[in-house]
């Protein structure tokens, strides 16, 4: 097949034309779903804001179902497919494997996503993203998800095939770049995830058309979460890869240690899958040993991996900044970072929020006993908005700002607005997550239309603080939605109205990546020194916050009823 390779004059990256079109198609579709999910978010927050309580109950549950699926699955996975193609074809400078299959995958994903959305908006499929049996949705709800999953699986195999082509055509020597390595991690997790999804959604689809009589409610929960939670682990692996990518392009930073970062990714492959247990800690029927081993990723090895990435990424930025001469004190490197570049600021706000808010709260919920004071409260969405929105979505937004001139070849419109966007979106999400966790600590339920229990004879009166916190959730949510709207305006506006930029030189064949000369540090074994003291200090602050909050929760738990 004939194809061409374009070398971008702004980044030096080489884009193969088929891969480039596929990346654009997947990324643009992703943003469309983000837009839909964002509009739905207005309905969710304005209904949960007790003083406004906007939508009727049936509309609220419908909107909440669609918001969850559009954001967590369609927006993120479409974007991740674009990232996978980027990490294989662009970073390895090779053609994409089987572009026809990649287009078929795209078509299946799109058809599936539309079919699922139509099912939800027709009503009768307001079953939430989790669709726990025996509550049933329309057959097309499940069929849409299954088509989407098959498409995503094909996309993963196109990615693996592209790696094979790069190896065969010798477009690079030695090992793949770290970012590609992280993307491989994400794709391996994705294959496991999608397979779990198929195992449970296919029989559920058959149940919805009447071919299967019954699916055990607990078996459904166990297997569904091997899909539902693992799909969030794809995001973690993907957005951490993007963090490394941004550290490289914004600072020219190189990883502190290839060995440490790659082993941390390997820990993800080995242990992240166990996390479906997080959702089953308050369930009957599963043994304590199973819960403890799985919920802790077998002794917290995946948490360890995240704590490693959380240090090595800012650490790499610090080392690079110090080499540029920003060596004063512990934090000059950070003060002099490019804070007006939304690609950098977005990633840094994402990294801090993901660690402090998402990471710490995740370990709390994932602790077998502590889960009892959190399970199904609004603390849970507080946690996962910190991981998935502050972590993944904000990172993908930051990456988009980098890709507009590079991949889309457009000059960004409204650069001032774009500069502020990560701050508005990121910090209002910080606030949103914190107040949600606060309300959850007071027990407020998630997925609940009316905290006043209108119409119930024995209504419970939540404390006034819970009402206040839920009002703050509404305010924080609206501010975050405004931040998201700016992202949409800037990106879509740039694509449509931005000045066209020079495409660069086009060649009929690829230019292999030149071999990098081994650096001095590598030739000498042993320690490089204490290269990133500022980052180490930040890590200590993180650890202190983690330890304090961890034991505060145990203290709270110890005051409860005796349970055994």
């Amino acid at each position: 097949m004939t194809t061409t390779y374009r070398t971008c004059p702004r980044s030096g990256l080489q884009f193969e034309s088929q891969a480039e079109k596929l990346m654009i198609a997947n990324a643009v579709t992703a943003v469309v779903f983000l837009l839909i999910g964002g509009i739905l978010a207005i309905g969710v927050v304005l209904t949960r804001w007790p003083a406004i309580h906007w939508l009727a109950a049936d509309t609220f549950y419908q909107v909440l179902t669609a918001h969850g699926i559009d954001m967590l699955i369609f927006w993120i996975i479409f974007f991740e497919v674009a990232i996978l193609y980027f990490c294989a074809s662009t970073l390895l400078r090779c053609r994409i494997a089987a572009p026809n299959f990649a287009w078929a995958a795209f078509a299946l994903m799109l058809i599936g996503a539309v079919m699922n959305n139509v099912a939800v908006f027709q009503g009768g499929s307001s079953v939430m993203m989790t669709s726990y049996v025996p509550m049933m949705a329309a057959p097309s709800f499940y069929a849409g998800l299954i088509l989407f999953a098959v498409g995503a699986l094909i996309a993963c195999f196109v990615f693996f095939g592209t790696l094979v082509i790069a190896k065969r055509d010798k477009t690079y020597q030695g090992s793949v770049p770290l970012v590609t390595f992280g993307a491989i991690t994400a794709a391996i997790i994705a294959v496991f995830t999608i397979t779990s999804g198929a195992i449970i959604l296919i029989p559920t689809f058959l149940m919805s058309i009447g071919w299967v009589k019954e699916i055990d409610a607990l078996v459904y929960r166990t297997i569904w979460w091997a899909f539902g939670h693992s799909s969030q682990q794809i995001n973690v692996a993907a957005h951490i890869s993007v963090w490394y990518l941004v550290a490289a392009v914004a600072f020219g930073a190189k990883p502190m240690s290839e060995r440490v970062s790659r082993v941390a990714f390997l820990l993800y492959i080995l242990f992240l899958q166990l996390a479906s247990a997080h959702h089953l800690l308050a369930d009957p029927g599963l043994s304590t040993a199973w819960k403890v081993v799985n919920t802790s990723y077998f002794m917290y090895f995946a948490v360890l991996a995240s704590m490693i990435h959380g240090l090595t990424i800012p650490g790499a930025m610090e080392v690079s900044q110090r080499q540029k001469g920003y060596t004063k004190g512990l934090f000059e490197w950070l003060r002099k970072a490019p804070w007006s570049n939304p690609t950098f600021s977005g990633v840094f706000i994402s990294l801090i929020g993901f660690g402090f808010l998402g990471g710490i709260s995740g370990v709390m919920m994932g602790t077998e006993q502590l889960n009892m004071i959190i399970h199904n409260t609004i603390y849970v969405p507080g946690h996962f908005h910190a991981t998935v929105v502050i972590g993944t979505t904000l990172t993908f937004m930051a990456l988009t700002y980098y890709l507009i001139p590079v991949l889309f070849r457009r000059e960004m419109i409204l650069p001032k607005l774009a500069m502020w966007q990560p701050y508005l979106f990121g910090f209002s999400m910080y606030f949103f997550c914190l107040v949600m966790m606060g309300a959850g600590t007071l027990g407020v339920s998630r997925r609940h239309w009316d905290m006043a229990f209108n119409g119930a004879a024995l209504a419970y009166e939540w404390p006034g603080a819970a009402y206040l916190l839920m009002a703050l959730v509404g305010i924080g949510g609206i501010a975050a939605i405004a931040g998201g709207a700016i992202y949409i305006v800037v990106t879509v506006g740039s694509l449509l109205l931005g000045k066209r930029l020079d495409s660069g030189v086009t060649n009929p064949s690829f230019t292999a990546i030149p071999r990098t000369a081994p650096s001095l540090a590598v030739q000498t074994t042993g320690s490089m020194g204490f290269a990133a003291p500022g980052t180490f200090m930040l890590a200590m602050v993180f650890l202190l916050a983690f330890i304090l909050y961890y034991f505060i929760n145990w203290k709270y738990l110890s005051t409860l009823w005796g349970l055994s």
Binding site: A217, L245, V260, G315, W449, G526, S527, A531, F546
Partner: protein, 179 residues
Amino acid sequence: MSAILPPAERLWIRHPIDRVEGTWIAIALVWCLVMFAMMVGWHVWGKQNLSTETYRTTPEKFSAKTQAMVDKYTVRTETADKIPVVAPPPGSDVYLIARLWNFWPILELEKGQTYRLHLTAMDYNHGFSLQPANINIQVVPGFEHVVTVTPNQAGTYSVVCNEYCGINHHTMVSRLYVK
């Protein structure tokens, strides 16, 4: 070199580790092991551990057991629906049905006494969220979960369903008394 380029050395596993990284990995690993030990240790020394005692059940079987308890220990009824308030003796088996969209019956327990609380859902998944104590347990249809509870404070508690169960989910809330 850079994270977007292949590493200079073919064997990345030989890349040296900086002391910042090495120290942090050691500290983080210790913390991970502490957290793991805490979770296991609480089963030995802690007083709040969720039981895993579970039996398969059917709505008919569970209803019959609940009805027997209600027939024996009802002390009064509440609300227009005449929901029985049941005060079973300390140490006994108590049953609570979760169904669309109520809990049945209302339990009245004694402070400092231990009960075997049996939970099941008749139809969809439901949630047992005891407020304001904030104890949250998943209630799954087809399974009878036996949780041993020892209330440590007297008062009027609410039981809120916190698993989405349909259009009237928000009306699924009940009481639980501790004397």
